[in-house]
Symmetry: D3
Subunit: 131 residues, 6 copies
Amino acid sequence: MSDDDRSKKGADILAQLHAWGTPNVLGPLEQIAPDLKNMVRDFAFGEIYARPGLALKQRQLVTVTALAAMGNTGIEFKAHLLGALKVGWTKEELVEALMQLAIYAGFPAAIHALLAAKDAFAEADGISPAT
Amino acid sequence: MSDDDRSKKGADILAQLHAWGTPNVLGPLEQIAPDLKNMVRDFAFGEIYARPGLALKQRQLVTVTALAAMGNTGIEFKAHLLGALKVGWTKEELVEALMQLAIYAGFPAAIHALLAAKDAFAEADGISPAT
Amino acid sequence: MSDDDRSKKGADILAQLHAWGTPNVLGPLEQIAPDLKNMVRDFAFGEIYARPGLALKQRQLVTVTALAAMGNTGIEFKAHLLGALKVGWTKEELVEALMQLAIYAGFPAAIHALLAAKDAFAEADGISPAT
Amino acid sequence: MSDDDRSKKGADILAQLHAWGTPNVLGPLEQIAPDLKNMVRDFAFGEIYARPGLALKQRQLVTVTALAAMGNTGIEFKAHLLGALKVGWTKEELVEALMQLAIYAGFPAAIHALLAAKDAFAEADGISPAT
Amino acid sequence: MSDDDRSKKGADILAQLHAWGTPNVLGPLEQIAPDLKNMVRDFAFGEIYARPGLALKQRQLVTVTALAAMGNTGIEFKAHLLGALKVGWTKEELVEALMQLAIYAGFPAAIHALLAAKDAFAEADGISPAT
Amino acid sequence: MSDDDRSKKGADILAQLHAWGTPNVLGPLEQIAPDLKNMVRDFAFGEIYARPGLALKQRQLVTVTALAAMGNTGIEFKAHLLGALKVGWTKEELVEALMQLAIYAGFPAAIHALLAAKDAFAEADGISPAT
């Protein structure tokens, strides 16, 4: 696979996940570490996410779960939650997945993720042109 | 919901996830904290897992992902991987999900989870009556 | 134990821990995941905290320590610190417990917990009707 | 405080916590980093644990809780559990404290800590001259 | 080593690391736990950092790396980044070290550390008398 | 950069870090996730480690520190410690770096890393043809 293929595939997947109101994580990163920004697109999305063995919708559940389990509930978590809605998960399903984390990561981790989801869903509703 | 309903629902879900060769996590726990063992069945499986808003197959992906992202790759991780196969995930899909964790939890976390999966799959193959 | 017993016990313990100025963690949670809010009351407080084998005062030290050791120093940590004062710990004892975490979780974890405690104690002093 | 005072105080507290069957954590450490071994005695026990503001029995609950919440359930966890029994906690109280961690650190963390406690208690019973 | 020696050594190292615009971590800590503040100076800097076996410049890379890998990217991380510049690391080298954490701690940890570095470098540039 | 360039660069760096007695992490990984094994070589070593902005010797200190701070003291930690010796760090310097982690990640994390280093150094001494 050439670098161009990788970049194109990564950009294509990012576009599929990009929803109205998605926070801009990669913009500020470009100012301090532009090559890492490119690695996110080319490696994380172009090489891993682009692999055929697991559906994009399922990959998005993996990402949302992993971030929340690790206590990572900042802007990239919100961006991935909105991406999860865009690829077909419902808000109810995402809330259920995050509630389930109370078993494995403890109630505080689940609560923090759900409060971040509440904010992300509210922002998306406020920004979406369909509303 | 009565305690009996909860216990029955939890036991039912545990049975759906229980595969040949599943490591026995709850047996040793019963000797030191029998009530916690019951809470796993009644609360974790009977109240959370039993909720209707997310399919059991999806819940199992959430659990496998959360455990691996947190570096929890011991016996309950292996038990849940075998449960994931039983409710319909393929080995390939689970390998893809764990590889994806390299992005979010780092390569060592993904590698540890995959080496544990290698062992779990091998044990299951050796024990399964169909093999 | 019936669901009503559990809820009543959980609400009773929450009332014993509730101090003037306690941040409202469960209110916002109710808007996104009302059932998880109920599980906090019924399971976390009604089933675990309510168990007779360890005194409530000791349970509160366990909670404050666990949250701080895991780097969880947000609103529920502040709420539990104020609850700890209410069930009989002194500010000096809580400061000592958090300082001790420098040994086990590192100085930054201890420092973050102590700075959160400084804010929580100050807010409580400002809000308390006795001051 | 002189270095000698610190060392003496630390050694005195270590002796109070040292129980029959306590695993030897500091012996192997001395072979690779003798000065760190001394810092454990002089700083961790001689300066922090030795402080008057919190009782030794309470400090031991803080340590056991912090280690278990962080997933640290190896030899020093077992050593501290045995120390906790020696300074007056009962097995039942320690089991309750570890069960409570299911709320804050998740069920797997509580289960791992309880299984380690089961082993530590069994070893202590087998080794103790009074048994 | 006497307490005075330790304090003097620690204060000397803190002075070597202190750069224009360094956030004040220890000031607020002094108000809630003055003895812990002294332990940071006397133990962390006076006993550990002051040891001869590793150069101060290298110790500063260890600290910056450890904090970022653990997800600790608050005020002490920024203070240590500015200290790293002062003892001879370039911004480019620090950016490279933080990018490398994407391999071990995952992309989100690396991104959070780099965004904190972007802010710290910008604040330092704005405050420094030489600019 | 083509895939071949990346692979060649990664393999070259792995060879520079590979010491007598290095544990084989990537062999077992190849059996379950061969593409992840290639990503370690091509992305982790061929794209990140191979970047010119930080010397290989410094990168190795970053890796050893990050793994130890995160509590990752298994076979890849031992492999990287031996790699660190090979690119010019002394055992004393590595011991100092790991001792320093007591400040940031707590004494148990530092102790676990040092005990793993004791084993890794002993194995290397036993295996090395020069000894």
